[in-house]
Symmetry: D2
Subunit: 283 residues, 4 copies
């Protein structure tokens, strides 16, 4: 028996870069949180502390800033440029992953902005010598529907106390990520449309379970957008319980709810095409 | 020397209530986080554990839910009703404070909503037998201007290394609270207008210091809104540092910034009217 | 009517400084989060943007680092030195507040340490030309007793549903702060003893209400430590609810609890001496 | 092309259960945060909303509480019992994962406890009809060494500015997880010993890179504990930068450091045995 090094990667996480682009008095901003992870020929640094094949994470951070000096494009473009740089420049780097979270801002003035909320736009790009995989997404997308959701017909056992319901609040803080078939994409357009379809399906599709809603959301995106190969969605079920007002002589016709923090249901699912090649490398 | 009980208060914090109001197929929601604090004749429970004058915090929570069964109005209305209830109903309660944080939602469908972000609308109402004080506000209002901000002319001493600047990013996550002169107010209109004036002043007023901006924001609100007696603003200076790209042979004309988390400047100020009576009780 | 500037202060918050002191192979570390707030003659920067009386927050940060180069002593010592510096050095500064949070570490080796947890030691020093006030404390001190706590005899009204109990879990994440009579104190000894008395009283004193426990804790500190003038304690009641296991045919004799996040009771109180002068400036 | 359902799972996350065990006046407590995820024959609920094979997450929560009524044993025991229950009881459940985070407490009295900090003990158990996999671990284990760490000899390119160092602070907030060879283990003993070895190796092993330290930690655990098949460690590099005090005429011989929050290096690695079968199912 010998002890051996298995999978490993390293990189700089959460470099928070803000890029201002000036068009006369009108400015644009990109507010990005960039994380890099490199895998490759890094056994030496683990086994002996020989760092001669290591690109320091400090250099990775500097590279982000230097690359931000050029026009950035969409976050998918910027992530591709960065990921290809590390794979192309350094023989020891076999795989580079660049994950970007974009904070959206709304313009209120030529050069002033107000935060457009807690929702984040995501891109994650993986590069090797063999290819480039692009995953886009949205995190912390908080949605709620106050009716149009049922839950019944489930298994009952000796530990079941949940009453069936034909009408409940359904709320979640969604993370949805989707993999593109290739890299010849209008990133902004695709992102906007997939996001719109996810929200629209959540809102308008009558729901018999959160799983059904999750699947319908991914299906809507895949049906409308041929450039999307696969969708992965994570939806915590942010429970809203009907408050029992009967001790106070009041009925509660699904009007007053208590929003609970923990525990919460957590639903995770993948929706794909039967002819899409799998790409575990991308995730 | 005797050991004595000084100021004290207690209550239920962070009851998270969601109220759905149905107008046919169209629903409205109010998403409130309500905290109550009561002061009064509570020496016995401290000194001997005699709870005969104590309104349990569990009952306070129930009261929030029961009151939410009636039409809520604006959060100022709801807070006033709750605060007056506790002072009016219980002889032992001399002062009730009800603080509400409202999470805004945007409609995407008849009965579906998407979170309108991390910004919160605030109301804090204090009631005693002698009066009712209403403070409104906004928390986590994140704004950024990419130019139109300078900082120079400050004291230099042996520990000064900061270079003067004629152009910097100014960004903050503001909490602003304002006290109303009385309770005969169109709460929604006042809130919307004060919020608009704060943002507009931040965006358009050229700044020589964050203090100057803070004062100008409060002044704009007081000038335009006679119903506002006093404004208190807290502004962390979310530093955006120009990245030194010269080691890479690049100029950086205020285009690439590093957004720092800590430490941060923190500016706090009050703007008031010389004829406004002070109301320390309100805060 | 004229619009005027009211109370205001500014400073650098959360400068995170770690000081290593080397005694041969044996090292000691101090891990401090330092926040400074200055008040004084700062109307000009608010009204006109004239910064000629402003000590930049960047300079305040530098001063913390420079002062950390000298032996630090206890956090109370370090805060006093910093606060006196700003009041003494700058005519425009009338009042300086320095608040320090110390992260404790446990030694595991000559020069290696493991975090001693989430609890923080606090010091807050206020200086003016007239004096120096020192407040010490502890934050995020999480304690739980699994019996020895009752709650009954409270007011019942139409919104009361809470059953009385003769045995419950009592748990809290306490912040306790205490003001010293003067500055001639053995800071480390006083801190350790007050902290010990707070925990011991929580643990051993039978409780009829969280208020009674809070008062007893402050009283124990004041009785044993003449150098303490006043104690202020904030205790969220971290509710642990007995789970109803009867649907599963099981009794639950206070054995299985559900720990709830929100809402929570919040108890705040001051315990002082009848002959102690008030010192609102200190807090 | 057909749209199809891919990998999916669901369950109840973060059920926070506290178990008190009474031995006369002396109590013991277990404070657990339990998350369950089930995979299996759940296509119907996704495709049509037919929930007839679904075990509601509410029932999963109830099951945790009911199982907590029996003696719990170590968290590995409790997780195994729960995971086997779901796989054994329900034909539609092919795989159950139960992940537990245990909050440690220190005794201060017969029945009173103080939180032993932010570090958490972990167990994650996966069950199918074919087997049971047990992973144990520790999260948020924060360690720091003030010397005994170097970093040099790395790749320099046009974006490198980091100076080489022969002496730096090395600090991390580690998550380490290790997979056991089987389920016949003295869980508490193994956990304690692996944790001790990780800390001891971090503290005493001279470091030329964080990767070298990570590997040495895993190797120490594998060498000493034959029951451990594989170790996975994630170590953020919590950078402590030497403050440049030269503008103030001071030297800084690695004494005064600024602790930075973001960005941070992130090192992830697996250490295993060449004769250990892989078990991707376990993670």
């Amino acid at each position: 028996m010998t002890i051996v090094l298995g999978d490993n990667q390293y990189g700089k996480s959460e470099t928070h870069v803000v890029r201002v682009t000036k068009k006369g008095r009108t400015h644009e901003i990109k507010d990005l949180n960039v994380s890099i992870a490199l895998a490759g020929d890094f056994a030496d640094t683990h086994l002996t502390g020989d760092n001669s094949k290591v690109v320091p994470t400090d250099t990775q951070k500097n590279t982000i800033f230097a690359f931000a000096h050029e026009p950035m494009g969409e976050i998918e473009d910027f992530a591709i440029r960065l990921a290809r740089h590390f794979v192309g420049e350094f023989a020891s780097v076999y795989r580079a992953r660049v994950a970007i979270e974009e904070q959206p801002w709304s313009r209120v003035h030529d050069h002033a902005f107000v935060s457009a909320g807690s929702e984040k736009r995501l891109a994650a790009v993986t590069c090797t010598d063999d290819g480039t995989w692009v995953v886009a997404g949205v995190a912390d997308l908080v949605v709620l529907k106050s009716t149009g959701s049922e839950f019944h017909g489930y298994i009952k056992d000796r530990f079941t106390t949940l009453p069936e319901t034909r009408d409940r609040i359904m709320a979640t803080s969604m993370t949805a990520r989707w993999r593109y078939r290739d890299t010849q994409i209008d990133w902004a357009d695709s992102f906007g449309e997939v996001r719109r379809l996810l929200i629209e399906t959540f809102a308008s599709k009558h729901s018999l379970s959160l799983q059904q809603t999750l699947y319908a959301m991914g299906k809507a995106a895949l049906e409308a957008r041929p450039e999307v190969a696969e969708v992965r969605i994570t939806m915590p079920n942010k429970h809203h319980f009907v408050v029992d007002l009967s001790p106070f002589g009041m009925a509660n016709d699904n009007e007053v709810f208590y929003a609970s923090d923990r525990p919460y249901g957590l639903i995770e699912g993948t929706i794909t095409r039967d002819d899409a090649r799998e790409a575990p490398m991308a995730w």
